[in-house]
Symmetry: C2
Subunit: 413 residues, 2 copies
């Protein structure tokens, strides 16, 4: 009776919610009772090209293991940074890929990822159309950067935002203990979009004013204005906490960490940089000769499952389920999206958009959500962010540490 078979892949950088989307897809495939095989490609489209895949229904046949997958960080299926060539440049690659898909009688192809992964979905669905293949290609968004077009926000962002807000609060407590002039600079991920840095504002409570200043890559950054801002805050308080995006640029459009010893680029040509906090730390120390510390939150922003947002994980699971429904209804060349219905109470709807309108574009913070001084966010942006970090996830601990899914299939010699 059953006659559907699907492939699922994950690509791009990890988040704590990308496995929740994988779990949602598997869950809906099982519930629909339409699928003979649910295959997972290992290391994304790269793995498919190398015929490395696994049978997911076998591994996740019991609900507990699926629940554990929902609560496991990073990417169960592994990732790749391989970018598909343009079809006209290398038709052979596409022929090989579709040969594998047809051999396995694949009906649906689900790809969970960010901007670059949606480029893959767009290219594959375009090729499928050109050869009249009936396979449906559906993208499921994920990125801690929240910079995808067409969706209210992205799966994975809420948990990263909750980690940033919680860490900012705990750093503020940590920094409060001495009676002396001090500046703490917290460097937060986000190359071109400041959403995650903006989320540090969610740390503010009736007891905590930090961060005192917030700098986002969407607004031009002036080192002189930055030092003047600090001088102004020092007039009211001794202890200043600053949230800064790794991707801020100076007046000449240069990243602040341009003095790094070597520049690395990923497979998509993006410069990999770090050190903005260190550059600012040095600047502040030279100007004020006070205690200065810079803290780079680093990869824990995207892998700290133990402090995930329940709203984020639940939505990420459900968008996976909706992806299966959309594909079974025959939609292809789409990316699943969230549409916000209202903030009070918070409510979203699941729908989809043409992936060609989304791939390779970036959603940045609109300037009217940044204050006039360019050193804080507006109430509107706070209200947008607030619902996304609500709720805590109960994870299982064993031997004092979290108990996550077995990923030994990703161990390579």
């Amino acid at each position: 009776m059953k006659k559907r078979n699907c492939f699922i892949g994950q690509s791009g950088g990890p988040t704590v919610a990308i496995n929740a989307s994988l779990a949602g897809i598997i869950d809906e495939c099982i519930n629909s009772q339409q699928y003979d095989h649910v295959y997972g490609m290992i290391n994304g489209i790269m793995g498919l090209l190398e015929s490395r895949y696994m049978d997911l229904l076998e591994v996740f046949s019991n609900p507990q293991s699926l629940q554990q997958l929902k609560h496991s960080p990073a990417m169960y299926l592994g990732s790749c940074r391989y970018k598909l060539p343009d079809i006209q440049d290398d038709p052979q690659t596409y022929q090989n890929l579709f040969h594998t898909l047809e051999k396995l009688e694949i009906t649906d192809f689900f790809y969970i990822g960010g901007n670059d992964s949606m480029d893959t979905v767009a290219k594959l669905s375009a090729y499928a159309k050109s050869i009249h293949s009936p396979i449906c290609f559906v993208g499921i968004p994920k990125t801690i950067d929240n910079d995808l077009m067409g969706t209210d926000h992205t799966p994975g962002f809420g948990s990263a935002a909750k980690y940033v807000a919680t860490s900012m609060l705990e750093i503020a407590y940590d920094s409060s203990i001495y009676k002396l002039n001090a500046v703490t600079i917290v460097e937060i991920m986000g190359r071109n979009a400041g959403w995650l840095t903006a989320a540090s504002a969610l740390a503010r409570t009736q007891y905590n004013q930090a961060p005192d200043l917030i700098y986002l890559p969407e607004a031009p950054f002036s080192t002189q204005k930055f030092l003047d801002d600090i001088r102004e805050v020092f007039r009211h308080k001794k202890n200043i906490i600053i949230a800064v995006s790794e991707g801020i640029k100076d007046e000449n459009g240069e990243y602040l960490d341009s003095d790094s010893k070597y520049t690395k680029r990923d497979a998509f040509g993006h410069v990999l940089h770090s050190g903005t906090g260190k550059v600012l730390e040095s600047l502040v120390f030279q100007e004020f000769q006070c205690k200065v510390r810079s803290i780079e939150l680093n990869v824990l922003q995207r892998c700290a499952m133990h402090i995930a947002s329940k709203v984020d994980l639940d939505e990420s699971f459900q968008i996976g389920q909706h992806a299966v429904k959309a594909s079974m209804a025959g939609h292809t060349g789409i990316m699943m999206v969230f549409q916000r219905v209202q903030n009070h109470p918070y409510q979203i709807e699941y729908t989809y958009k043409d992936v060609f309108e989304i791939a390779n574009l970036e959603q940045r913070i609109p300037l009217h959500w940044i204050n006039d001084q360019h050193n804080d966010i507006t109430q509107e942006l706070y209200d947008y962010l607030y619902p996304l970090i609500q709720g805590e996830v109960t994870i299982t601990y064993e031997n004092g540490i979290p108990c996550y899914s077995d990923i030994s299939h990703l161990r390579y010699k």
Copy 2:
């Protein structure tokens, strides 16, 4: 009827457990029904010199607020890095301090802190003896570094160790996703003692081998041996995770981050350094030309209350209670300590030692708890560490972030 009054102070760097000890002291003072006043000095002994203190029984009269204090990171009373002068050099400071203590009819003086704080307890109790003052001076240990002599381990260490182990596990998952040669270096706090770096081994599970290599400051570090170790691990696996203490020194006894732009020292003359991970990152990249990332866990090791160890918080609370009992029994010039009775099941006893035998000394990892290759720990050290990170703490969340005690009294203009 009541006639006891006490002072409590906190000093040194923060941990997530130091407020649990404060809560334990307050709790026992209330339970004993012997105390008219429980004063908290604000910013440690510095605050007492400046007559800045608060009435803690007023603030923590209800059990909920005391419970919240137990689950709040950093230091409710603030800290200082002020070192008391030698008595013969500056008797006036001691006369001033004891004038305040006598004016308030103080019977007990509790000081929660690390090595330098025990120096304060030693000096004050010596002075008290010299002037025949009946005030009891009791030290309560705390430090994430676990480097105090005389106690099996220190309050605050277990929670930091749990943070390190959990983060190491999550970083291992994060690093597993690509099929390529990669080295991830995790830099962990610990200037002279490697206990916290060693705790990264608690991240190992049946699914996770990380960290593959561990480097501690107790063993001499050779950069050539380090690169050879990595080459050896690359023979079995592509993805290598390394735990390294910030305080490792090269063959010449130099800290690896000696190329830092400026050297800062704290009030006790300790060099404040960072950047060991970055130095190693550069070394590895030059040698192997592979993907390399260094991650500095930074202050979250000592302030991430949201992932505290239940064993640690409970012990830290109880050692505070025992400090009050010891003081009421007339003991002075002591530091409270843990004595381990057994590992299976884990059991400790609370007792105390002469603070003069403890202050200004450091407890480092014995060399027989480090493997012969100097790149891992032994099973004995694992067994010692294991019980200290067990159990999770249920903290209260509000608006998506943890709900900690009000510390607005530490906000200075």
